[in-house]
Amino acid sequence: MEKRTDKNSYTIIFAIGMVLVVGSLLAYLASSLKPNITENKRLEKQQNILYAMGVNENEGTSANFVSTDKAPQLFTEYIKKQLVIEGSTAIEDDKAYLIDVKKEKAMAKDPSYTRRLPLFVGEKDGQTFYIAPIRGKGLWDAVWAYVAMDENMIILGAYFDHKGETPGLGANIKQRFFMDDFIGEHLMNNGSFKGVNVAKGNADPTNKDKTDNEVDAIAGATITGDGVSAMIRSDLKLYVPYFKTLKTN
């Protein structure tokens, strides 16, 4: 006799039942946990921005954020202004840090759309920090960063992150040894924007020369490094007009 579980009708009913059970279980979990997840992401953005301007709890060689319970308070304390740059105008908006850079980047593919660029102006020990979020592609998935600059577009700090780069290789862009290399690097070269290139076979591995527009690449992470270079070139360039207006005022 044919086993009950071998029948076609049983198979189809089982498949439908399984999809219903699993589908509703996951949908229930996802929607009930969504507020927590959104809140975590919001706090993380604040932590990232603060990290870039040097408000962090770094110890030794490891990169540590300020704790999540302190982040909102420190964020309002250190970030003096949040700007949204649209074309040639910059408007203050205290929700600017919630702008989705990924969506803006996708919509900017349409030439008639003016991309909204968030920029955070922070102040610490008398120094003004201009922090820009940027986003690009690594080897497997998205890479992004928060770059803090002074008014001459010299990098004061950077926080890099990624969605799915290879652990031990590309994923190392969020390690101190890579991020700290960017501090002091010039984005401009003789008055024009050049970016910072993540270079292999760098003649300056200890990164003494800060005006060469180069930092040392990570061995085994060429594509991730190229993605970081490209993201800095394309996204930070958009902020150049704003920094020019800072000079003329």
Binding site: L29, L33, G168, G220
Partner: protein, 215 residues
């Protein structure tokens, strides 16, 4: 063994050595090559697989009499994917930092052939408790190899262990580097993982001739 019968204990002990999933069953090789450039990543992956395989084996074993044999592979896949997504969602909501470290591994766990291999070969034909032990044993066996490979790759490739410099500083030339030692960048690339796994297989088979297949 007081806690486990001899037969049950073997379910855990066998995969650690003579029936190791990576070196003998040749399952899960892909992730063993992909994420072993660092010891920490190896340990995280080992723990993740331990959880998913342990629970997954029990779930499949409980369902073994009602799963239609024609679509059993799809059912197994759904069980793994569901478990992994649940873990990922819960971590994102309550342990955000940890979930960021693990996010890379989520995709790798679903495609890890050890999991599907053990569901198919063991859990479908055995009771939940034995399936659980089998899952734990196999993921431990997998983890041991991952950690050995990760240890050598990080030590020889970056000169660090778990991120701590153990051989000195390669830039200021202290410790071992003062004598002209250099990190081997090739260790960080996947081909060297394959070679390290190859060496483990060689050592294991030369110690136990019974493992050598006849052709």
């Amino acid at each position: 063994m007081g806690l486990l019968s001899k037969k049950d204990a073997n379910l855990i002990l066998d995969p650690l050595a003579d029936n190791n999933p990576i070196t003998i069953q040749v399952l899960g090789i892909c992730s063993a090559l992909a994420i072993t450039a660092e010891l920490e990543a190896s340990i995280v992956m080992a723990i993740s697989v331990l959880f998913v395989l342990g629970v997954g084996n029990v779930v499949i074993s409980l369902m073994r009499n009602i799963i239609p044999s024609k679509i059993r592979i799809i059912v197994q896949l759904i069980v793994v994917a569901t478990l992994v997504i649940i873990v990922d969602l819960v971590l994102k909501a309550f342990a955000y930092e940890l979930s960021k470290t693990l996010s890379v591994f989520v995709g790798l766990i679903i495609t890890n052939c050890i999991i599907m291999g053990r569901f198919e070969a063991f859990a479908l034909a055995n009771k939940p408790w034995r399936s659980f032990l089998d899952g734990i044993g196999n993921s431990l066996g997998y983890g041991v190899i991952l950690i050995i490979v990760g240890f050598f790759r990080e030590l020889l490739g970056s000169g660090t262990l778990l991120g701590f410099p153990v051989l000195g500083d390669p830039i200021t030339k202290t410790g071992l580097y003062a004598f002209g030692y250099e990190n081997n960048g090739f260790m960080l690339l996947s081909p060297m993982a394959l070679i390290v796994v190859g060496i483990i297989i060689w050592v294991q088979r030369s110690r136990n001739k019974a493992l050598v297949e006849d052709h």
